[in-house]
């Protein structure tokens, strides 16, 4: 990293705090671009409780094939679900390395790879045509010239808790 690059970074960081916050920026939707089961997906960041690397998962027998096991996080034991299996996607070649912490239910959704944290305008989100087939994938977003389904975490939690 050259001195000029460092200076540029420092100037950009300081510039953010030197100007007044714009109103439009407040409306932007923060999205987490990720990949589960080899499929590129997006998740509204504010629907999650956090993003972490997946710690060691202890496998448990379960009626539900989506459950990979349990893991420990900040003194609590969390059930770990495979995001790809919940969405009806194949597992893919790589094992899951990341997890999303979800709301009050205190569970984790494991996925393969975290790609980026982006903020998009609300109009960048559009309803998915195949929403009936996959209730948790009701929206699409265009990122870097590619279309990604946007996973609805609340719908996914409802599906998990549905008996």
């Amino acid at each position: 990293m050259s001195a000029s690059t460092l200076d540029e970074l420092r100037r950009a960081f300081d510039a953010v705090f030197a100007v007044a916050p714009s109103g439009a920026r407040r409306l932007e939707v923060p999205l987490l671009a990720l990949r589960a089961g080899g499929e590129p997906l997006a998740v509204r960041a504010l629907e999650t409780a956090g993003l972490q690397r997946l710690p060691r998962v202890v496998a448990l027998p379960s009626r539900r094939p989506e459950v990979l096991g349990v893991t420990g996080w900040r003194g609590a034991v969390l059930p770990v679900y495979a995001l790809s299996r919940l969405l009806g996607l194949p597992d893919g070649a790589e094992p899951p390395r990341w997890m999303l912490l979800c709301g009050e239910e205190r569970l984790a959704l494991a996925f393969t790879a975290f790609e980026a944290h982006v903020r998009v305008a609300p109009e960048a989100l559009e309803p998915a045509v195949s929403g009936a087939a996959r209730p948790a994938l009701r929206e699409l977003v265009h990122l870097d010239g590619r279309v990604r389904p946007v996973v609805s975490i609340p719908d996914l939690l409802m599906a998990i808790h549905r008996p």
């Binding site: 990293m1 690059t5 970074l9 950009a12 960081f13 953010v16 705090f17 916050p21 407040r26 923060p30 987490l32 960041a45 504010l46 999650t48 409780a49 956090g50 993003l51 972490q52 690397r53 975290f114 944290h117 903020r119």
Partner: protein, 489 residues
């Protein structure tokens, strides 16, 4: 026989046998002849003499009678003396015959003759004694009466003795003739036997010798044929040799010229080799200096390699540090994301914090991007270092190879210098040797000329040999024909 006795031995043996046989025949003939001669001598010396004595006796008897008649008729004392001398002689003859008498019949006949002569002599003496006074006629009558019967008796006795001597003579002659005939027959038989033996020997000798000669002639024929062929080949070979000698002479002359040229070239080579030796020594010194320079380059290259390897190790350490920075940026990014989420959960109070968190996240993103760029750069640097190290190592190896090559070149120069020195010596030796060779070639040329002359003479003599062999073959054929014709005959 053929293998044990030679031709001359057989002939000598045959002649010796014939000579022995001839000697035997001659001995037998000599013995027979001596026998015949003895027999004839006996007849001539004894029987004929006795016959002559007997005839003498007869003659003396007649003479005595005549002398007696002459005395009686003439009364001449001479006749009486002659008569008495004749009577003495007659007695002597009778005594001689008696002393030599061989048979009783001769002695008896001689005794009768002796007695008749005694009686006759007494009668004659008596007549003579009485004749002094008597006439011739009376003496004649007395003689006719007294002497005549005695004289007839004497004549008969002498005739009987003569007849006996004649028979004895005839018998002796016949015995001598018989002995001569026997000897002649024996000699004839031996001669016939000898002729038969000679004929047999001649036949066997002719047969054996003809077989032996035939074999020899056959051998001579085959040998002469081989000799003829060999002489022909020799003549051809001599011609070829003469031609080859001529070519060799030409080649030797060319070789002589070439040797002189080689000697000249060797002298030039020796000069050039001496110049080359000087150049090689100069090149050796240059190569030694270049070798020192190459050693210095090699040391510099080794230093560069060490520095580049150090640079590679340090860039690897930078990569490790960059890995830590990348992980920190990633953690910072995640922390910023989570801070954003937490700020959103805090509502309005967390909005400013959310802005800070977002900026921290962006910063972390950019740091992460920068670390990727740096990693790329470091990778490029490491790759360049690796390439440089490899190139430098390759260069170092090339320098080592070059140094080794220089060493080899230096050694080669040294060897070249030594070889050139050797070449100079060798060229001088070649020059000397070529001069000697030239002299030797001249001598060889002279010798070859002599040999060529000898070859021409050998060619002539081989032609003579061929002619002689042909004549020998012709002679052997003639001899074979002669022997075969003899055998056929």
């Amino acid at each position: 026989m053929e293998s044990r006795f030679t031709f001359s031995q057989k002939l000598a043996g045959a002649f010796a046998l014939l000579v022995l046989f001839a000697l035997a025949v001659a001995a037998v003939a000599v013995v027979a002849l001596r026998d015949v001669v003895a027999s004839k001598d006996e007849v001539i010396n004894v029987d004929a003499r006795r016959m002559a004595l007997a005839e003498r006796l007869n003659t003396l008897s007649f003479r005595k009678a005549n002398d007696a008649r002459a005395f009686l008729m003439t009364k001449d004392g001479g006749y009486r003396d002659a008569l008495r001398a004749t009577r003495r002689e007659m007695r002597e003859v009778i005594e001689t015959l008696r002393s030599e008498a061989q048979t009783d019949q001769e002695r008896a006949l001689l005794k009768a003759v002796d007695e008749a002569e005694e009686a006759h002599n007494r009668s004659v003496e008596a007549v003579i004694a009485k004749s002094g006074g008597a006439s011739v006629e009376a003496s004649g009558l007395q003689i006719e009466k007294e002497v005549r019967p005695l004289r007839d008796q004497l004549n008969r006795s002498i005739d009987q003795f003569l007849a006996a001597e004649q028979r004895h003579l005839d018998e002796g002659r016949q015995a001598a003739t018989d002995a001569a005939s026997r000897a002649a027959r024996l000699v004839i038989a031996l001669a016939a036997l000898m002729i038969l033996l000679a004929v047999s020997l001649a036949y066997f000798l002719a047969r054996a010798l003809s077989r032996q000669i035939s074999n020899a002639v056959r051998h001579v024929q085959s040998s002469s044929a081989e000799l003829q062929a060999a002489a022909g080949q020799q003549a051809t070979g001599a011609k070829q040799q003469a031609t080859a000698m001529s070519e060799i002479t030409t080649t030797i002359s060319e070789l002589l010229a070439t040797s002189r040229q080689i000697a000249e070239s060797a002298r030039a080579v020796a000069g050039i080799a001496a110049e080359t030796a000087g150049a090689a020594r100069a090149g050796d010194e240059t190569v030694q200096r270049s070798q020192d320079s190459v050693g210095s380059i090699r040391r510099q290259v080794e230093l560069i390699v060490n520095h580049m390897l150090d640079l590679g190790r340090k860039s690897q350490q930078i990569g490790g540090i960059l890995e830590i920075i990348n992980e920190l940026a990633e953690q910072t990014n995640i922390l910023a994301i989570n801070a954003t989420i937490e700020a959103a959960g805090a509502g309005e109070a967390g909005r400013r914090f959310a802005v800070v968190a977002e900026e921290i996240r962006k910063l972390a993103d950019r740091v992460g991007g920068s670390t990727k760029d740096i990693r790329t750069l470091i990778d490029e640097v490491r790759s360049a270092v690796n390439t440089t190290v490899m190139a430098t190592e390759s260069g170092s190896k090339s320098v080592e190879v070059g140094a080794r090559h220089f060493s080899e070149v230096a050694a080669a120069f040294g060897q070249i210098a030594r070889l050139v020195a050797t070449t100079t010596d060798a060229a001088r030796e070649i020059e000397l040797s070529t001069k000697q060779q030239t002299t030797a070639v001249e001598q060889v040329n002279l010798a070859i000329s002599n040999v060529a002359q000898a070859t021409r003479e050998a060619e002539a003599s081989s032609g003579q040999s061929l002619q002689t062999a042909s004549q020998l073959a012709s002679m052997s054929r003639d001899l074979a024909r002669l022997v075969q014709s003899q055998k056929a005959a």
